[in-house]
């Protein structure tokens, strides 16, 4: 991930000097995950070196934040919200449908590695519930029909 260093250096321009390395940790992790899909041991060693930070601090952070992953997942990450407003608008039916259609429950990946399903908490988008993220994009006001149409597009 050394090729990202110029990008990381650019981030420093608008940051205060104190605590500089710490404040870069999450942005660097996000960027690496975007590149590789997850955070590899190599990345931890690289960041520990680049940010002059004990590797354990990086591992601690990684274990805390649900968006950061230590292992690869399916090509399409379906993150369906199961908090109250989405549940009031039918997200349970969508979970059932996904189980029927893809054979996976939250936390599982299809054997062909295409889909990983996660049940997530409120995505801050309840006005257009039910809501699901596919990779980084929100899909709102889902129905069984629109969900099916989305699945057909994902290959």
């Amino acid at each position: 991930m050394k090729h990202l260093i110029p990008e990381f250096e650019a981030l420093k321009q608008r940051l205060p000097l104190e605590g500089l390395n710490g404040v870069l940790l999450l942005p660097c992790l996000h960027r690496i995950q975007q590149e590789r899909g997850y955070i590899h041991d190599e990345d931890i060693a690289f960041l520990a070196d680049y940010l002059a930070m004990p590797a354990i601090q990086i591992i601690e952070a990684l274990s805390f934040y649900t968006m950061l992953r230590r292992a690869p997942i399916g090509r399409w990450h379906l993150q369906l919200c199961h908090n109250l407003p989405c549940a009031l608008c039918g997200s349970d039916n969508l979970f059932d449908y996904l189980h029927e259609r893809l054979g996976i429950r939250p936390g599982e990946t299809t054997p062909d590695g295409r889909f990983t399903l996660s049940a997530v908490e409120c995505l801050g988008c309840c006005g257009t519930a039910p809501v699901m993220m596919i990779n980084e994009t929100y899909h709102e006001q889902l129905t069984l029909e629109s969900l099916e149409a989305l699945l057909k597009e994902l290959n």
């Binding site: 805390f64 109250l84 908490e121 006005g127 980084e136």
Partner: protein, 432 residues
Amino acid sequence: MPGRKILTDFPLTPTAHHLDDYRARGGYETLAKALHSLRPEDIIQEVVDAGIQGRGGAAFPAGRKWQVVNPHDGQPHYLVANADEGEPGTFKDRWVLEYAPHQLLESMLLCAYGLGVRHCFIYIRGEYDRPLQRIQTAVEEAYAAGYFGEQILGSTFSCDVVIFRGAGSYVCGEASALLNSLEGKRGYPRNRPPRLTVQGLWQRPTVVNNTETLANIAWIIRHGGAAYRAIGTEKSPGTRLISISGHVAKPGVYEVEMGYPFKTFLEQDCGGVAGGRALKAVIPGGTSSPILPPDIIEGLSLDHESFWDVDSGLGSGGMIIIAEGTCMVRALAVMLRFYHHESCGQCTPCREGVGWMHRIIQRILHGQGTNEDLERLEYIAKFNTGTTICGLGDAAGAATIGILKHFRHEFDHFISHKRSLCDGRLELRCAS
């Protein structure tokens, strides 16, 4: 129309969020004036006079928070806009980021000038896609126009802003956890004192305010604190963004003048309960604010004092409408699963207690509940209150106590009949 408007007082055209449109509406004029004619302490004084209360949940007066900071003490100070927006039912900061990003940025600049801040952060929840793009674009537009950077608009004031993405943690919306997260640590809430305005980010005086709170500041400085105070009620000045969801005909974000009647708001502005059903309950301000039945909420006006009087609150403004026929036992189960999952695990009453509550409600849902279970639930919920580092443990307790207070009969029914009084339904097929 739910009263006067401050934040949403412009047409939502496809370019309304861009700098040119914002400037055409008089945007950044207040900043230019303030930098040349106001002293930092004047800014703080206007915000104190405005009486604006925080919109993140606790309704603490922003001016009183700011007054703790001495803009001239010579050490670095920090300002953070809290755009973590994790409280279930809340999506109004998303509206600010998407449609009024420059209002937020101009407000932050004014605040930074008032508090002697050189570096600001916008801590935005990691999942947000379009809100992130919109605020990023706005920041670049503002830099290019010279509103951020060195010696802004020919003054001696310099200021930078950085957008910082969270990484999926509800508790990081709590101000001190948020600062730990910014510092590159786990998002553990900190014990107070010291207050964050005394020792916050890197132990420096730091102001953390909710995105909506901050977005009001440009209006307040432009029109004066007294003009702001004249809007709303005496104890709750101004307006509020209410994000309304659940079984409601027209969900969305509405700006409401404080004091506006709830019943009119729901029935006339939001189209009433979806499918014309009867109202069963309302969670007024995110799931952390205790639920209210119709006979109580229908008489209330939308301001803090009215909701505090009935042991609830307007909280984050995330209003969830629940129609007749919804199973309250399952609703509580959803909430407790959430709090259990999001507990950071530092405090025993929250880590263990919320876990116990979660397991008890699951037991009841599986038809294995006993009458003692309800007492246990209440006992644990009460024990949580005030015994934890942050408000998450309290919130789980308050949500539980609230729902048991008003819907206990449904829990009794579930336990004795091993099934729901309402067929276990959360979703209602509402022809809306």
